[in-house]
């Protein structure tokens, strides 16, 4: 079993044009920074990206928008960047907006081997258009399909050489779900340790879901909204 890769460029080398990718993170928190940088360097294009957000102009998925590598975004909240808006309005970029809980649950379904889930989110709205509705105990639910993604790029705090992952604080968000959902899951971690050095009780994502792992470098961890109170 050899899951450890030297760097992001090697780990993502076989991501092909037209691939469907999941990218973990909420806003810029917990995004696979090294993986995104490597995708930009690789020049791979026509990507469908499943990610809660689309980054900002000059960071996160925004970097891949600048280089026009993204064909379609599937997200719950976008538009924190001008280039995104420009491409959307000009028709260069296709966007599918779905409720955040639906996004999370469609990842979860894939990771749990379930073809679909039922959720009330979006009933009576344009999100329901074309979807099967089922009524349980008098309440309507939409049938939402599990995602089918070729690759998942996730970011964890610590990982071991077996691919077991531990996340930190709210940088967890979609990462463990996407790790479970990808056909090939590529995890980048701030600290890579030998198998056996993590406490099995503390591991969030079992390594069975993780196919490739590497230790990332130069994490910028940019803050989108710096809100602080002055020291007294």
């Amino acid at each position: 079993m050899q899951k450890v890769y030297a760097n992001a460029d090697e780990a993502i080398a076989d991501i092909h044009d037209g691939a469907t990718l999941m990218l973990g993170g909420f806003g810029l928190c917990g995004i696979p920074e090294n993986g995104i940088a490597a995708l930009v360097r690789s020049g791979v294009k026509d990507l469908t990206c499943i990610s809660n957000n689309a980054g900002v102009d000059d960071f996160g998925i925004g970097l891949m928008l600048q280089t026009k590598q993204v064909k379609k975004m599937i997200s719950s909240y976008v538009g924190e960047n001008a280039e995104f808006e420009r491409q959307l309005l000009s028709g260069e970029l296709e966007v599918e907006l779905i409720p955040q809980g639906t996004l999370a649950t469609r990842c979860m379904a894939a990771g749990y081997g379930m073809p679909a889930v039922f959720t009330p989110a979006g009933v009576g709205t344009e999100v329901a258009e074309g979807k099967e509705i089922r009524t349980f105990n008098g309440k309507d639910y939409l049938m939402e399909m599990a995602f089918d993604a070729d690759f998942a790029l996730v970011k964890a705090w610590k990982g071991d050489t077996h691919g077991n992952l531990i996340f930190k604080a709210t940088a967890r968000n979609f990462n463990p779900l996407m790790a479970m959902a990808g056909k090939v899951t590529i995890a980048e971690v701030e600290e890579l340790v030998p198998a056996g050095s993590l406490d099995p009780d503390q591991i969030h994502t079992p390594g069975i879901y993780v196919h490739r792992i590497f230790e990332g470098t130069n994490y910028e961890k940019r803050i989108e909204q710096r809100t602080v109170k002055p020291r007294i």
Partner: protein
């Protein structure tokens, strides 16, 4: 007429000890500033946190610790992190006692529109559709009318719907309204606002009880 701070302050009176509460972006966020002394309220942030605390002191901000508005925050003792599926799982399962969010329009049957204005850049619904589809107790904080004076408390929403028949209470800059079978039931008036002013500003079905007390702060 209530200020945004006063709307938040009035909503805070709906809090009860031990509640788990999700506060949306904007006026709802301000409710956290008015949690009564001695009351234990646990704030849920749908990006994966129960036990959200105030903003950090300058220099203590942690890029790995943000709220659903992507702002740097802190945790309070007893807090817990989880992934986004569990976060919306607890919302869907009705574990969150109270949800407070903003709205562009509310209808007198409890329909809400708050995510999209046709012709303008659409940013997305985020977690709003999940919250309104499942929460049992939804209070909307909003301005009663648009800038040009048009009512936002309507017979039917004109903007794209976020959720159907879900809002239980509205606190606007003019008053407090319960949404019941007969429509908006006026419970309290903002200081200095008359019942007739509220009738004038409300397009949806409005029920005015015999006594409508002025709000007390």
């Amino acid at each position: 007429m209530l200020t945004k701070e006063q709307i938040a302050q009035r909503i805070a009176k709906e809090l009860k000890d031990g509640m788990y509460v999700n506060l949306g972006i904007g006026i709802p966020t301000l409710v956290a500033n008015y949690i009564p002394e001695g009351m234990t309220i646990t704030l849920q942030s749908e990006n994966g946190l129960l036990g959200m605390g105030p903003f950090p002191f300058e220099g203590d901000e942690d890029p790995d610790l943000i709220n659903a508005g992507k702002q740097t925050i802190t945790t309070i003792p007893g807090s817990v992190f989880f992934d986004s599926a569990m976060s919306f799982g607890m919302i869907r399962a009705g574990k969150v006692d109270l949800t407070v969010l903003g709205a562009m329009e509310v209808a007198d049957n409890g329909d809400i529109a708050n995510w999209k204005i046709p012709g303008k850049m659409v940013k997305g619904m985020g977690g709003a559709m999940d919250l309104v589809a499942s929460a049992k107790n939804i209070i909307v904080a909003m301005q009663h009318t648009s800038r040009d004076g048009a009512s936002k408390l309507l017979k039917e929403c004109t903007l794209p719907i976020t959720g159907l028949q879900c809002v239980t209470k509205v606190v606007s800059n003019l008053g407090v309204f319960d949404i019941e079978a007969e429509g908006f039931v006026l419970r309290e008036r903002a200081p200095g606002i008359s019942v007739s002013e509220i009738v004038e500003a409300t397009e949806g079905r409005l029920v005015v009880p015999d006594q409508v007390p002025e709000m007390q702060f």
